[in-house]
Amino acid sequence: MASLIGFYSLVFGLFFSFLIILFSIKNLRNTNVFNNNLISLTFLQFLFVIISFFGLVISFINSDFSNATVFNHSHTTIPLFYKISGTWGNHEGSLLLWLVVLTLFIFLFLLKSKNQTKQYRILTLLFQQIIIIGFFIFIIKTSNPFDYIFPVPNEGLGLNPILQDPALAIHPPILYLGYVGSSIIFSSTLAATSTNYISKEWAKHIKQWILISWIFLTLGILLGSIWAYYELGWGGFWFWDPVENVSLMPWLALTTLFHCILVLEKRLALTSWIVILSISTFTLSMSGTFLVRSGILNSVHTFANDPDRGLFILIFLFCLIFLSLFVFLFFFKAKNENTYNFFWLSKETSILINNWFMMYFLTVVLVGTVYPIFLEVITSEKISVGPPFYNKLIIPFLVPFLFAMAIGPKLKWIKSDLKNKFNLLFFLIISFFISALIVKKFNVNFLVNTILMTSVFYLFFSTLRDFFISKLKNLAQNVAHFGFSLLILSILLNNIFSSEIIANLKVGDTYETEKFKISFENIKQKKEQNFEVIIGKFNIEFLNGDVETLRPELRIYNQPNIVTSEADIKTNLLKDSFITMNLVQNQNYFNIRYQIKPFMIWIWLSVLLISFGGLKSLFKKKYEN
């Protein structure tokens, strides 16, 4: 029943798209005022999509296995929470979530843009409806979440156990808010371009939308990363997996776009940058969807491979690309701007430098992600691109980037000169000495690490100093930049000082190293709702007398029959102790992996700081204007 209602509301939603387009075109031609009925229509469309979505959620809650999606991704024994989160843990349901966010955002946009011109609002609505229609047809035609199975199976196939996790339950919705939020930026940029409305006022208005999607995208990536850290049992947080890359690319584009918008707001420059970046942010999100859902790439996020789906998104994606190219090439008129008359030492120049670096990073990630596909098609040779590629290409460029980031924000608009030369130099020397000391003490590759660390510390100290000097002025920017320096610093220290041992141990065994002693005390078995669990108890004694007890788990899920290993992690401000155990087939010992990962918590905290900077900036406008 719920499925039936769900399906029909979906069809109604599509019908509303056509209605909205009809009314918009009428409104565009006839009158000078915005027809407020359009807002109601958009709301109704959103309502129908939400009903459809809840139809699916209810089918999941009731374990209604006559619905193919529920049958494939749920089971009666799964806890309620994961039954619900299972709704968007699969291809069909997650696309429905896309649609929810798409329609929600355009509705909010119309509500929030009352002061804008009629032409611009209607065109934004039209462009957004094109995207919405594309997704409606995609869902109904190739991935209908309400497919019916007959005869009705008794039991579902179960939800993949690694998806049964709280972080992963909220990761997709938050990430989608970021991904799909960029659709509004895309539509409104196209609308602004075709009505020649790219101006300082427009920048003020679109800035908040950019910030909203940026904040959600940042948090979404963070959640995914935290999940990978404790669930996949490798002890890393970023693997340069294609799916991670496709979320990073829109983030890079969006970050750059945000900096450009600041220039537009102040100086009416960089307009072509903004148009191109807005278009590419959304097309990169879409390409991400294409790469993940078509099965063209192999990664941890494999969805059902169906070439029809891939083909549909591919065609749709290129329609959007050509549409935006058309708008850009034929309607875009560069304002008689002074882009290349920037004074070399000014805020605009430093933002331009930032842009070029970001574009470089983006290109590296893009090439690393799609190059294997190109190579396979052209030469049918299979390769996979891993971390060394990204490290080699990105790290050297991080150094000048960090220096620019330390100095750039201190410059003034239009023309500036370096004040406090003494301070700048002083910080440089201090950073250098600190880094040299750290690197020397721990005996790692001296030159590379010292230079890199110097640049990080430099940014770290100069943003830290700004907190004291400028107090609340520019707080948002300071927090975000400080967070970024903290992020790079923690990643760097984490990389240098991580240590790991892998050993095969029986119950009662101990393993000794110079710094600590691991003893395998015992194992216990327990039965949970939909899995059995084996809990190991490990004592770790450090030289200084500290004792830590860690209890990693092995979970044996019954539906589907999969064993997952749950890491046990002890976190404190300085380091994480991370232990996993794995079954070794036909043997009576376990494979134990113990890692000490310094400053892990700071990686998460610094990303939170970065997004907090964005949030602060979003609310700053209110009292400044």
């Binding site: 005869p151 199976p153 008794n154 078509s294 070439p307 050509f322 190219l325 596909i373 098609v377 589907p560």
Partner: protein
Amino acid sequence: MKTKLIPSALIIIFCIIFLIFYKGLQNSNIYIPKNNIEIDVPTFNATLFDTDKEILSEEIFKNNKFYFMNIWSSWCIPCREEHQFLMNLGSQENIEIIGLNYKDKNQNAKKFLKEFNNPFKLIISDIDGTIAIEWGAIGVPESFLIYNKKIIKKIVGPLDENSLLEIKKIIQ
């Protein structure tokens, strides 16, 4: 001249990218972990589908010949699609097809076989799904090619023309 050059170049570039992605889509990327190859057939006892008699796994796979074990169910939609390939394989001389009827109702399963014909030499019932777990099956349908009491190939999902050809090549 120059104004037309950039748009056409862009369009051509994007067309090429489109073509490459389009070609890439057609390369199959289905990835099956290799760790189940060449392992021993699990031991279990089961009830026969027709007579409700108990049978040991050793008895089922006792001969040194090819066996093809297929996990199926009447409620499983892809099983219907793959049934024609099973029939085809059943007509081969040097292979015996064993069915594992997974979490099914006996009546429904019999109706299914009546409607689509029966390719199986022998069918065992797995009402609570425990035998499928022994085999490490991920879902229905799933098939295993067995030779000399070892699993030499595992096929996740329904059979198709390619996998059928491959199996025929192996057993010849």
